[in-house]
Symmetry: C2
Subunit: 442 residues, 2 copies
């Protein structure tokens, strides 16, 4: 009885915020007022959307995306209140900071030792889960858009590669299965997968940028890009191991509050900037900074140890991360869904995304004990934030004035992400509850 009333009240808040936004425009000094209104709209929408999908036993990120899709497409009904948010440069910067913080968190949740211990199975699962979807996506691109350049086909393949470690981990935690063999293999593979996917992104984006400047990318340049990426990640690991203790020792000498958080964020941001300087995405640097940073490196310094770093990052992520997902959702143009070909393309792309990851199941090494291969294959399905990041980078790439990812493709990718995110929790629940769940299916 009362709950719908309260959600209605929140929605009224949202609309009144939007009206204020629309009337506040014009005065340049009111930038901060517009930013405040946009943040209220985005955060309230994200929380209502997250609540709705959480009640449906789906991850909150799905609700944030859908909330963004709704806000961004009210303009189709003639309600243009939220349009200024799409183009607010401060909100865009906050969204990009949000995804950098998220990848830093994901990096912190993973660590090198865990990646080593899950070993060969994770590596093979990840490799199969990258290669097969990549070529399936490439093929779907050729099938539906034969008139477009090879760059578009390759980019489409790349968007299908990376598993979303955040969604996978959250689903496994929700199901209470984090301690299983399958969970360890999936999480390890998802981490390797992320790195491979980000490498592929860097290489594909580099090839496309080179093509745009006229000359074809030489094989030497491709090798140099791969080398730079590998050197950056390897260098991050080696340098991080050397520099983190010095950095946190220095931060431990400084008096004042917030030293741990500032030292951690500074290294995350510096790493993101360095990644950008060698041609990688800033998020690769943020992820690498988190991967190398370990609690061991700061917990012995008495001035730093009052809170765990993850606890300190959480409130910042709570505010900034939804800005990224809601804004990404807002850039989904529902008008493109009217074209029958897009829906068909989205359906085939989604099928390729789901089937492609089932190849992962065959990467599990027999020797690693009883493993349900179904669970591994299904657990690799969600693309989540990483796929969206790929697509948003693709939106900014052009070859000879032609956009590599045009609106229909972006919409299809978003549909693929929504569907892969949506099917995973029920699919995994089903796989864990099957009578034969303890025996490998093949």
């Amino acid at each position: 009885m009362r709950k719908p009333l309260i959600v209605l009240a929140l929605f009224v808040c949202l609309l009144s915020g939007a009206t204020a936004y629309a009337t506040a425009g014009g005065e340049a000094t009111d930038t901060v007022v517009n930013v405040l209104i946009a943040l209220v709209v985005i955060l309230v929408a994200a929380k209502i959307g997250g609540d709705a999908t959480t009640r449906l036993r789906q991850p909150a990120v799905l609700g944030e995306l859908v909330a963004g899709v709704i806000l961004g497409n009210l303009v189709l009904l003639g309600l243009g209140w939220f349009e200024p948010i799409k183009h607010d440069s401060v909100i865009r910067a906050l969204a990009e900071l949000g995804v950098i913080i998220l990848l830093f968190q994901v990096g912190l949740e993973s660590n090198l030792a865990d990646m080593m211990s899950v070993g060969l199975s994770s590596l093979l699962v990840a490799t199969a889960g990258v290669i097969v979807p990549f070529f399936l996506g490439w093929g779907v691109g050729i099938w539906f858009y034969p008139q477009h350049s090879i760059y578009m086909h390759v980019f489409l393949g790349a968007t299908l590669t990376a598993t979303s470690v955040g969604i996978t981990a959250r689903v496994l935690r929700d199901l209470g299965r984090l301690a299983t063999n399958e969970a360890r293999i999936i999480l390890g593979a998802a981490v390797i997968d992320d790195v491979m996917g980000l490498l592929i992104l860097a290489i594909v984006a580099g090839i496309i940028r080179a093509a745009d400047t006229g000359q074809a990318m030489s094989s030497g340049a491709i090798l140099w890009l791969v080398a730079k990426a590998v050197l950056f990640l390897g260098g991050a690991v080696v340098l991080g191991r050397v520099l983190y203790p010095i950095l946190f020792r220095a931060a431990g000498y400084l008096r004042g509050h917030g030293m741990l958080l500032v030292a951690a964020l500074a290294s995350c941001f510096v790493s993101a900037v360095l990644a950008a300087k060698v041609g990688l995405a800033p998020i690769v640097g943020a992820f690498a900074a988190g991967l190398v940073l370990d609690e061991v490196q700061y917990r012995d310094l008495p001035t730093l140890a009052s809170h765990r770093l993850e606890e300190l990052l959480e409130p910042i992520a709570t505010v900034l991360v939804p800005v990224f997902f809601v804004l990404m959702g807002m850039h989904v143009d529902l008008a493109t869904f009217g074209q029958g070909a897009v829906l068909g393309f989205a359906a085939i792309l989604t099928l390729a995304a789901i089937l492609g990851k089932q190849a992962s199941a065959f990467g599990v090494v027999r020797a690693q004990g009883k493993v349900n291969r179904w669970i591994v294959g299904l657990g690799m399905i969600p693309r989540g934030e990483v796929g969206l990041i790929f697509a948003s980078i693709g939106l900014g790439l052009t070859v000879h004035g032609e956009r590599v990812v045009f609106p229909e493709v972006y919409s299809a990718v978003v549909i693929m992400i929504i569907v892969t995110t949506l099917v995973t929790p029920p699919a995994l629940t089903w796989a864990f509850r099957r009578p034969s769940a303890t025996a490998p299916p093949a």
Copy 2:
């Protein structure tokens, strides 16, 4: 031996960040990279500056200001690395978000009940501490700048009124004297003082804006401004008491993480926007939202109670608040210090600021027990962030094309703030340690 080396290493980091900033300029897509570099420079500078002043037993905010002054004036030595930071619109928006969060925190630290219980003494101390500095500042303005408009003189008076509750509270906590009678009176008065000061700011800024549009501000318009401000603050109290329980009950029904933080920030931001809409500064709204919000209103909701709100806000404040103070410091133009008249003006203004607040001591009511009037008077001295906010608002005001606060006046105000912030900790320490500290001096 090792500490100077480590600070040197941090400084080298800072400079390499600056070099990266300088070379990164130009590409529009690299906005986020520039923001990341600027944040690293600001946060590292803030923490080094805060460390230095903390070692000198001064508040960290002073070190952040001084660090900003140094960064902002390296250009005088021909080092222009940090100049782009001064004009980065995203960094400016982050700074303004920072001061909104800070005033929200200050509001949360205060509460209506405490303000009522310290009662009459706080009210009289606050009133005396607002009226006397206001007219002293006005007089100093007429003395030094007789050729300038009355608006400039009145604005100068206004910048001397508000006590910085943050600095006062931090100093009392550092001295371990938060539980004394004097501390309760000072804190209560500082809160009332803040509200009075912000009202004066709204009225003075309103008068100046009206004057700029040509017509003199009618007494009716002044009354309407006062009425709007009082109505807003009264309305915030009444509406907050009614709406907060509904809001937090609604947030309690929503599933997902971060509901308490998002609900609190959303009400802070909405209140800031509403304050801006009635002509007050957004920070007034943020302060009012914090003042009315009480732990009672959310701690019974099980989904919200895992962390205290203050704990959740702290990491966000750690990152955003120094951006405000360092950026404010960066806008201090040391070149103006070369003019002898500015230094003399700054000295007299500082004297007026310190002596004016000593009138507060006579506001203490005898009946409230043994109170050391020296401590009350000295405790009201620091102007800190509120004075800076006044000055920065003044920088944006013009009457007939003439800026109300011109660079020399701004520099003098900053010197006044630095000195009043600097003298308070040793002065209070001295007053608490005098042999006659338990007896009132008059």
